[in-house]
Structure formats: structure tokens, C-alpha cells
Symmetry: C2
Subunit: 409 residues, 2 copies
Amino acid sequence: MALIVQKYGGTSVGSLDRIRNVANRIKALRDEGNQVVAVVSAMGGVTDKLIGMATELTSSPAEREMDVLLSTGEQQSIALVVMALHELGIDAVSVTGRQAGIRTTGSHTRGRINSIDPDLMNGYLKDGKVIICAGFQGLREDGMIHTLGRGGSDLSAIAVASALKADVCQILTDVDGVYTSDPRVVKDARKLPEISYDEMLEMASTGTKVMQSRSVEFAKKYGVVFEVRSSLNNNPGTIVTEEHDQMEAVVIRGVSIERSQARVTITGIPDEPGMSATILCCLAEAEINIDMIVSNIAYDGLARHSFTMHSNDLGRAQAALKPVLATLGGNSEVLTEAGIAKLSCVGIGMRSHSGVAAQMFKALGEAGVNIGMITTSEIKISVTVEEHQIEDAARVVHTAFELDKAPVV
Amino acid sequence: MALIVQKYGGTSVGSLDRIRNVANRIKALRDEGNQVVAVVSAMGGVTDKLIGMATELTSSPAEREMDVLLSTGEQQSIALVVMALHELGIDAVSVTGRQAGIRTTGSHTRGRINSIDPDLMNGYLKDGKVIICAGFQGLREDGMIHTLGRGGSDLSAIAVASALKADVCQILTDVDGVYTSDPRVVKDARKLPEISYDEMLEMASTGTKVMQSRSVEFAKKYGVVFEVRSSLNNNPGTIVTEEHDQMEAVVIRGVSIERSQARVTITGIPDEPGMSATILCCLAEAEINIDMIVSNIAYDGLARHSFTMHSNDLGRAQAALKPVLATLGGNSEVLTEAGIAKLSCVGIGMRSHSGVAAQMFKALGEAGVNIGMITTSEIKISVTVEEHQIEDAARVVHTAFELDKAPVV
């Protein structure tokens, strides 16, 4: 008998039929003798409908009230899933974020989990009940209803698994697991049986959007091993866990791609302290997420900074940078380039292997793919390429590192 | 400056346009310098939709989960009303039943209000905020979400008015106030400027369903004066208050009617202690609400009991009484009659006036209306008549007591 925490997303509970399907899956686990806690999201579409009503009433709904409004979505789905379980004869009970003891902190609509008081849930488990817990929500220190922002239900599930010392934590989603690359692009992409937290984090931040980084970070911090698997079948998914020695035998775990990127380059920056901060602050104030940052001194002794961002943000970035340019001494220019994409190789094995970059660049060169910017982290190498070449680039790099073949360990 | 507690029902917040209308009404009170706390119901139709989903999943949804599910309706409407107020520049904040400090007791879906801890609301009022409070819900002693059953939002409003020591409590509804009789039946029915709690209670229990009795009882117990008025216009409504001397000058306050009644008569009951209890218990166990009870000893020395109930319950009542008949000695019969209606005259003045019944029966007799059962309370006389005669009966009694004319006091 194991204690299994599962998370079902909005698509998995998107209709009464799907809710029945979730109930049947939980019953199957129960019938095998397991204890089950399922964290569920709002029914697909409900959150968007509520947001639509709010924005029809006011162009900028107060975040406190958005939390009150949106948290009802999960509260409805927990009750409905419990009812479907009762219909199957399963003793089940719902808990809201508050009742689950999920205590949060931070601004409205962007809560962080502070602690979990699992007493009520532990009592229910002791009584043999299945627990259906509302994801995405908690109670703030001041007694206010608090939602956790994007990816919040994953975070709830991992936190609950940690607090209850669950044996298994499963994030059930509409993909089968984490792949070596996007299977729609790279036909021979392979589902990974396991991946380390750090690799998962780098994969998430480089376009493989199975989960938000914050949930993976939380799992890493509290050592919660979890599995990403499909809610539509019973295939094993991908285990996300601490790295171990065998993992390092694999140099590259996966190749991820991110499209619709744009580059902004600022030239002629005086080589003085504080210049980079000035530029980055004005982009941060405009709430523009920048990704890669490359900086170098040009031949004229003036610095040039290049950033990448989503191409949707390019116009706003140009507007935000205009007032800064004036302060840079008159020699500065803002150059922009849209239509680029990012290709990243991720793997904890690259720490102990030299020549990974060489191998990657060689494969790209042989395929006639020109490399724009390059950045590296300890376990990742990212490059920008022309967007129209990104799929070819992914395929040749995937093949170069033999990711289509299961590693021999 | 007054502290005004208002209650808006589901129809009043039934669409985003109506929510904007409520916001405008609250703004008008605010602009006059008042403090406002509005208790709101779920948007019209939302509760029914949620019940529909629940009953599609299971034929008998668990009441605990119904509370979790249905309480989301009010939680959505409070957030939306606050957003509409923000759009008008009004500083407003929502509170759920839990945050309003409404502590409840009793079974799920049928909560009773135990106490209110108004600290959070008082703080908000001190900060000059308008408060929008979720009706129909509270927090049970054990931390569970609890709904208050039918008429729950009225109850919330009256309890909140009491806890906050409000100057005014307004129950805004889709009727203009309490009338001397149903204006659809009695064309010259008159809106009452005021009515006593006891009269209101008797009117509510005899078919003038402006409010559930429990809310009126609660108001009476805690001395909360409230006004029933329309949410669609600004006409003065009916003040419900303690009786005072002037009220007694009016013998009959109103004439109410209740249709679709049925009578069940059990004959041949041995005249022994406990017989009535046996019969009533079996009806209570079958959850059949009985209204009038008339009992008498017949010529044969055996008793006969007659009850009235809604005609929808007649079949279930017959089934429930079957096993009891056998225990009554074999001489008993169950006689039933559907197609009757109840007519009641209500007025605290009748306490101090004799001859009210005589005047009522005379009017009915002159109109050729035959009287079936009769019951009386201190401030009410009820009779049953053939359903097809109920409208005529109401009109002649209404005229006999000159209810079409404003009383001279």
C-alpha cells in the first residue's frame, strides 16, 4: 500500500465525463489498496470564463478580487470529483486550499506556498478516505483567499506530496512525459524514463513547457520525486528526481527549441559601471521578460549588449529603451532582429565531458545552420538560429548526440 | 451618515448589467455619505446549474460536497460586484461568509448562524470601504464550508446588520414590499408601510413568500428592524419591526392565500394517549411538511385527525400512513381530498378585538364560499376553501376588512 498524490489539470476534469474518468482512475488505485490524494484544477474553460466576466466589468480587476473569483473554479471541481467518486462507492472528501492547510505568502494572484499544515488531511487518510484537494490556492497569513499563479496546481500537488510524505507524486497531464525533443519536430524523439530536476528546469525554461519552473524548483528544494504522465492512458511517464551517477553517463538529455524570439542589440554603451543595470531595469519596469543576455566590448571600446525576448514584446521593448538611449551619450543605437529561434542542449553529463559545444556546433555547421548568439550554463548550451532553420537544427543535433537511441548504462 | 446593510438576491445580480446596476445603487448611497455593507446571493441561475451538474454525477450528492459546490456561487458574485464598484471609483472589498465571521452550526446544507465575529468587517468599515459580503454561507465550528439553506442570504443580511449594529437593513427583492394581499389576485391590494414581525411570520407561513420565516424569526429575536423593498426602483417598501400600539388599531393586516393544498383525514383513531404522535411521527419521518392540524372526537368515540399539506406530497403521505393504519385497530380509514386552498387573515389587532372570525365567515358565506377546516392562532385565522373559489374568497374578505383603504390611526 502506497500513498499516492496525483495532480489532474483542467483538461483532465474539463467535462462531467472526464471527471468520471478521473474518478475511475482513482478507484483503480484505491482498489489496489493505495491511499490517494488528488489535487485538481478548475474545469477547463471555467477560469477563462470567469476572467472574461471580470474584464467585462473593469479593465483592471483588483488582484485580491481575482483571487476570490478564480479560486471558485477549483472549489467546484473538487466537489464534483468527490461526487463522482461517491457514485462509484469510494469514500472521498474534498478539501479547499485553506482546509488542506496550504499557507501562502506574497501578492495576490502570485502566491507562494509558505507551509502546509497536513493535520486535517492526515485525519481523513487515517479514516480511509480519498482526498480531493483544490489546486492553485491557499490561505494567506492575513486570512485572505490566495491563488498561486501559473502552474499553481502542480505546485500544490508537489507541496502536498511533500507535506504528507507521499510515496509517489504523479503530475497527470495531456502529454506522455518528457521527451528528448518535441516529437512533432523530431520524429525519433524518445520519451525519457527519468530526468534530473536541473535538467527538467533547463528544459522547462527552454521551451519544453511540461511544467512551470517554480514547481520543479519546489520539488528539488524539498526532494519530492515526481512523475509526469498522461491522464489519458496508463503508460509510465518520466520520473523527475535528484541526479545520480548513472545520469551523468548521458551527456545530453534533450534538445529543446523555442520559437518566435527576437533580438535587441544596444550598441555604443560607455564602458562604465551601472550601464547594464540601467538598461535592464528599464526593461524590467516595462515587465518584459528577457531570456539570453550577451555582452561584449566592441573594437571602439564601447560595449554592446544583446538580449533575446519573445517577439511579441519587441515593440514594447523598443519603446521602453528609447528614454534610456538618450542617457547613454548619443553614440548608442538600438538594433532589432525578429524571426529567430533558440536551440538548447541540456544534460548534467556535459559537466564532466568536454567538447559538447564543439560537437553541437559541428553538427549545425555541417547542416548549413548559422549560429547567432551563444550562451551557456553549467548544464546547457543555447544558440540562436534563423527561425526557418530551427527544425532542421533540432534534428541534426538530436542525431549528433544519438538521442534517438536509448542510452546503454 | 448611516450604516446601511442591504441584501441583493440572485435576480438582482443575475447578469453583468444587473451587477452594474447594484454597484450604481450602492454608489448612490455612498455618495450620500453612508457606509454600506451589501450581502449578495449567487447570480440567478448559477446555483441551479451547479445543482444540475451534481445530480448528473450522482442521484444523491453528499450534502457536505453540495456546500462546497454551491458556496462558490456567492463567492463569484461578491468578487464581481466589487469589481463593478471599483470601476465606479468606489473603494470596496469582498468578504466570504468565513471572512465575515459568520460561524454556523447544524447539518450541511441547512446551517444555522451561531455567532458573528465582525472584527474584519468593522476594520474595513473604519477604513471607509464598502463591504460586499457573500450571503447563504458561513464557516462551521469544525472548519467546514456551510450553507444556510433556503432564504439563507436574507438570514445572512439580518445577522450581519445585527452584528454590525447597522442603522438600516434593507432586503432588496423583486417585489415592492409586503401587500395586504397578492396584488395579482386582489386588484386593490395595498402596500403596507409597516408590519410587525409576528404578522410577517404568519404572512410568510401562509403563502406570502416574500421571505422565509427563519429570517423574520432571527430579526425578531435580535430586534433587527428591516425593510423589504424593490431592487428595481427607489420606492419605499415595508418596514418589518416590533409591534407598537398604533399597529393594534388595525385588526387585520393582510389576507394571504395558499393554493395546491390537500387534506388527509384519518378516521377511527382510538382515543388513547400517543395516537397522534404515532401518526405525526410517520409523516415527519417521510419528511412531509404538514400545515394545518385539526382533530376532533367523532360521535363513535373514535378520534379523527385532518391535516393539510401541499398536494405534491399527497401520494407520499398516503404511502407513509399505510403501515400506521394497521396499528390503529382496523377501524381506521385514510380519506384524502386535493384541490383545496387556504385563506388566512393575519393581524395583531385581532388579539384585542372579538368578532373577527365572525366578520370573516360572514363575508365568505355571503359570497357563497363554503368553509372546510378552520384553525386559529392568536393573530391568524385560517380556513380551507375549494381551490376554484380562493380568489373570490380573498377579494371578499379583503373588502370586508377594508384593507383597500389606508387605516386612519
